[in-house]
Symmetry: D4
Subunit: 254 residues, 8 copies
């Protein structure tokens, strides 16, 4: 409730059109819906999109198939479409049985339901993946970007150990308005790319690697330590966070 | 050298206006200048701004006052202005003696030289600092934003332990096109802010704290783990990186 | 044996009502019972409740179903009731087969046996959970509080990324005499709450999260680094410890 | 502003005693004062005590002597008294020169100004320190407790490597209503104490130790891993946090 | 080959009883046997016991059942008896099928074969275990002590959270010539015990615990940081290492 | 494309033998082939061997059997032979079903396809393994060395706890031109060996160990901290990296 | 007070020779002395030696010169002699000014006062130091051993990177009854030595090293991970702890 | 002593030209010299160069100026020249006063004494430094290479954030027979270089960086995780180790 709305309510109180109790209720009430599901209930925040520009995205890793299906259905009923991430294939199958009209993207571990309304065009997002193993995170990012209304393309297999492969794609990458760089292991890709493009760049470390890579922590720390200034970073394997950040930026350029 | 320029060179070769040797020279040459200073020499990358949209910023922590003064002078001679960060007060004094026309910003540990040419207006950047102790990083960020041509304001002392202080400033913050959130200790500020604004947000962890805070690592990890999606993060105390990222985004909105 | 009891024994010795040998036995004896079970035997400490105000709670994670069942039976036989935590569903089924009158709380991973005698009323405990994924720990905490005789309610889904959801519940939370705040990921909830309530607050980090969250270590460190002073913290996912601490405090307020 | 206050405002609006604009102002206004000092300004939160039961305590480690003196003066002017912690002896001398009526507690690194009004009596707090080296943190805790109106006594040199020393003080410790246990190195004190007392217990790890102790991290982790249930923990060397937590509990017992 | 043996060989060379080539062979030869098994072959070091006082103990965790069976058979054929540790129950079953005369100790994860010859008596070893969960490591230690010829007894369930339980067993523990203290979680047992006994003490951290315990690392660090001086420590769950160290000491006291 | 080739192209442009567009295409084109497989496609870098002296080696851990089979087939079709590492036995079976002519080395987790052409002889590589448990990594290293054309022998079971076993093999080891030392746990082997040989030495830490060994991190750090100077180190269990480094060195000695 | 003493007291009570109150006092009293010094007071535990076989050793690092001098004087007055460790040279000078008869050992950072009474001979302790940089810890260990009545010799500069230097001293080392191995960096010394001697061995990691050595943590972890079984370990740079452990063992062999 | 030398000794014994005692002495003796200096004495290992191909290099960080001067003098007296590293400027001045003919290289923190005899030419070593801040380590490496008889050149300021600067130097780098890559921060240089050259490559992480860089640990881990295979790594800032490794390889190519 912003100041204008508050003044309207207060005017109605003054005018007698609204009782103080109703006004107090109105001022203090926050709209939530309760979704019934197997265990307890989850409050879904329907005003989130108005407030933050991004609707709720269901994080599947810590939810049961029942909870995912209920949340997708509830969200899609209101927003036209809904998306869940980190849904492994067993869970995805179970969700699909509960909500047959859902679409499953296996490699990206994403389940989608419904169609989002048309949105004003946004600037284009380029998702650059260092290696084949980084594609799952890259595709998750791409699907979330598109769900949020921004066109996104994946450019893959351009790891820095073959820097000419990256240079060969440079023109394409430089045409993107926002760049997401996805890499595991030593994660040198954003450092090289950071010296070659002038677009805002978001780096996503992945858990690809072994031994001293420590499940992506080294890729993360490497990106944060980059000698190429102006790179921002999200959590390990966090394709969703990168997508939301990228879309917020892309909307500025539309 | 982009494809268009390459074709021009090749046309000149075909037309005889340029010899193959000159063309090979032209295609293969990378322009650098060498700046003489006390120990060895540093290559300054004059094309960096063309390539990445951001001129070189002198990182003072690992340089002597001599090296900082030489780099500032060289960069300002070509670009009109130059800036050095992480210059402690002793070094800043020494630089000032060598380059009297330089300006020193003590709390922000910044030294500037010269004036940048006018630039097209960019969207406004809001730098939100959780506590007084985070202001040094916040001011460093502000000075670099302005050096790069983007207006930036600092909003301070809005830590989440007094969430009403943050809410009191919310209208101001929501007017900014890009938000930089600076916080140390448990760094909860971006999580709360992330649920209240729809602008792109960059979080800067600071080394403020003690004990288990481990020099800012917990603030960093906390920001990366945020339950508010779409927040991107830079290295600890990295006001410069946040500024560059913010300015790149702000330019999309101008 | 406290000083008063010691003097009574010594008086009996002086009066000849007790022999020195019996007195030595009496003074030096520590009462234990041995519970037979499948592997070796466990000493159960029946005086613990007199000494610490809290009876033994069976930690199920490192015990077999046989050991859990034996310990519950022995403890309930003496204290009227017994409780075991961290009992996964397979173990819980096995315990239930051995002790059919036990009650299983699946999400909370708790098994209870018997009824505790009535206790003097204690102040009310509020258990505030940031997200749905934190509920398992929250319910474990609630069950242990109630087992120990203190009323406890769970307030859920009030994560700080939607701070209005927390504010909407603030009146309810402020009515509680002791607050337990349960959160994973960056665990910002206690920092925000810590600035809004004046009750003693115990924070429980959970292992919810991924990547840099490192199984709850970041949530733990974040809570310990909180800018809201006076928050105390227990181990990751330690709903039991939080419950015992909360009940000890609640008893002061009865 | 709670619901009752809101209804009063709304009643005044309905009755015409207050205009909607004034009411909007009233509902949305948050009271702050600005304190001028050397660098920028710090918002001091005068309603904090009403909200959280604890006035602002000045954290001296990250402030200059000027900032500390200004904050103490401002806070004491309104609340009758003020306290600053983590003020090393050099800073304390400088503060004393600026505010001669301040009192310096050197070992505890505390500076106080003014006298707090009488407060209702609270239950007694016992601060148990394992070794001589833990006393600085113990005294800081004691001074903050007393500043907040709760009587506190320090019981020292009862480390577990001479467990009879602890047992010799047990009667004294058991008489306290709230126990704060301060220990460095392996920090076994709260585990032993936790099995002997029934009062709420707060453990404070200290940075005493060397080598694998890692500046108190092992003491912290050891306390969090304690086999004695119900112990809560604060950050390393955080005597202030422990004091605030203890006082909040002690107030329940008055 | 010691100096005496070398002189004998050289005397034989001088006397012509041995050729220089044979002597060179003799001096340079190190006796090994090769044991055939499924994958490659393992050199077993038959002189190890002469050199270090301890025969080879088979570490089962990184070997197949085939390798364990072959090593036990080979070692027992020469030394009369052999022992393998860290043999989980599936592997133990497989070894038992290959070597039916072997004895399996399931909780201790130990497999033994044959009988060691009588040995001179050694001083008695007391293995003190904090909790039931530490017994597996305690029993492994006991079996290895006895295999190496030293009597060892296990004293269990004397964790410091019920310090009277420990004191009740103190006379028994003080009768032991060498003490092994086994504990997980915060591992406070050796600190308390270290102030009560004068025997050499070896501490074994166990991986019992959760959350911040980090698989026994905190127990380990806690023991190394102990305020009770003179405690030595072995790796996490390393009952074998503690047994060998204890037996070496016990032999000094026989 | 080196300068000579560039001049040739430019000469053809000047002479009219090549159009500027074709030349631009030629200068800018990097040769890649696309291999179709189940999910997406992988760019295989056929020029890698020319550039780095080493063909692509398929890293099996993060690929499906389908992807491994496709990559091996494609690479072998061009280079005569191909090799995949970190292929567990289930995947290896699946690859073998898809490409029956492949050879599986189970312990080394390697799958090979085809025959490499004869190569000029290289110096000999000695792979010294501390214990039986390090052999898997040692054999992986050996197979990759031989795939790359360098003779390699494995010398095993020479851990430093029986230093005479190492000394007994010293003559053999000193005959090698390049030494690879493979060890887990405390990884002391390279330190001892480093003082006894003058050949270039590469150390490979393995994840053998438990408790404080932390999956090989201690072995790695120990090797990097070695008091024997001049030892270089690769990632944990990285037999492939050690092999490539060793072969590059061995080629210098041929 | 043991059972026999308790029975005597009780007999006196029965016979009327002692009142119950006196008996209660007697049973409950623990003897301490209070030493006055600059800040507060430290309880010195005069029964410690009777209980643990080792008198109090003053840990100088966290005490002022005043506190060290007072403790040394008090301890020497009762036990004939006293020792303080970790006394840096500035503090040592100050202590010497306060207690001129004290002896300062600068490299070992030890201050001693008085002469210990003759003690029964103990077995000999050998302190083996890997490098020159480890000598400070080695000498501290030697001085404490001798203070406790056990002969100790230092054998230095036998690091494993020149294993022949170690072998050259092997006869000497094997003559020691107890071995203390002191090493920094990768700390391979105890692993090699552990395979060559049959005496009890205590390993002391030192903070010698840089980079990945992390202030001795790698040396510590390396020793704990040793492939030579039966090595026990103390905290980093803990020469005192190693000395006490060694002396306790040496007393068994006298 | 190798087998041939042993046979010669034995032949002399057989022939009576050497007594068994002398032979035993001869076989068992290891040649050392003792260098007197201020504190204790250091064994210098004069056979080290014969055994490992590299003479002793004095590590100055943990030695006094006296010890450094004595060691340099002793080593130079025998080998013609000597070198000490990690000698800060204060120590270097003190050494220079003690040994005026020594040469000090301030940035590289190296002190040299005397001239090494001519050596057979070795292959050329290229030392590639990412940034100006890495030069100290690069120059240390270069001086040690040249001390050991191998020509080495430094190529600097070719960090990957300006990849064209690296490509501009590529021809020069590819002409080197061995490559040492020196980089701090995220240390991406060896990954890019590793895909462009076929020479053996040694990577040296430096402690350049801040925040999450953790004193070079991230640069180290990044290099070990490199996606470019065949890169070997040494400890942080370890220019000496890299030089020795590089020279050993360079000797193979001479």
């Amino acid at each position: 409730m912003d100041k204008r709305q508050l003044l309207e309510v207060l005017d109605q109180v003054r005018g007698g059109a609204m009782s103080p109790a109703d006004a107090a209720e109105r001022i203090g009430t926050v709209p939530f819906a309760e979704v019934a599901h197997a265990v307890g209930s989850t409050m879904i925040d329907h005003h989130r999109e108005l407030r933050t520009g991004v609707p709720e995205i269901v994080y599947g890793a810590s939810k049961t198939a029942d909870q995912i299906a209920a949340a997708l259905t509830e969200l899609a009923a209101r927003g036209g479409a809904a998306i869940a991430t980190r849904v492994d294939s067993a869970k995805a199958d179970a969700v699909k049985r509960l909500v047959p009209e859902a679409t499953v993207h296996e490699l990206a571990r994403v389940v989608m339901l419904g169609t989002r309304p048309d949105r004003p065009p946004a600037a284009e997002i380029g998702i650059v993946c260092a290696g084949t193993s980084d594609l799952a995170v890259g595709y998750e990012c791409q699907l979330v970007c598109e769900f949020l209304g921004a066109p996104a393309r994946v450019i893959s297999d351009v790891g820095v150990a073959g820097v000419h492969r990256l240079l060969a794609r440079l023109t394409t990458i430089r045409q993107c308005d926002v760049v997401v760089a996805v890499a595991g292991m030593e994660a040198a890709l954003p450092s090289v790319l950071g010296g070659l493009v002038d677009a805002p760049m978001i780096a996503v470390p992945t858990s690809v690697g072994y031994g001293v890579s420590i499940d992506g922590l080294v890729a993360l720390a490497s990106m944060l330590s980059s000698c190429a200034p102006g790179i921002t970073v999200v959590n390990i394997d966090n394709g969703v966070g990168a997508a939301i950040a990228a879309v917020r930026i892309a909307r500025m350029g539309r």
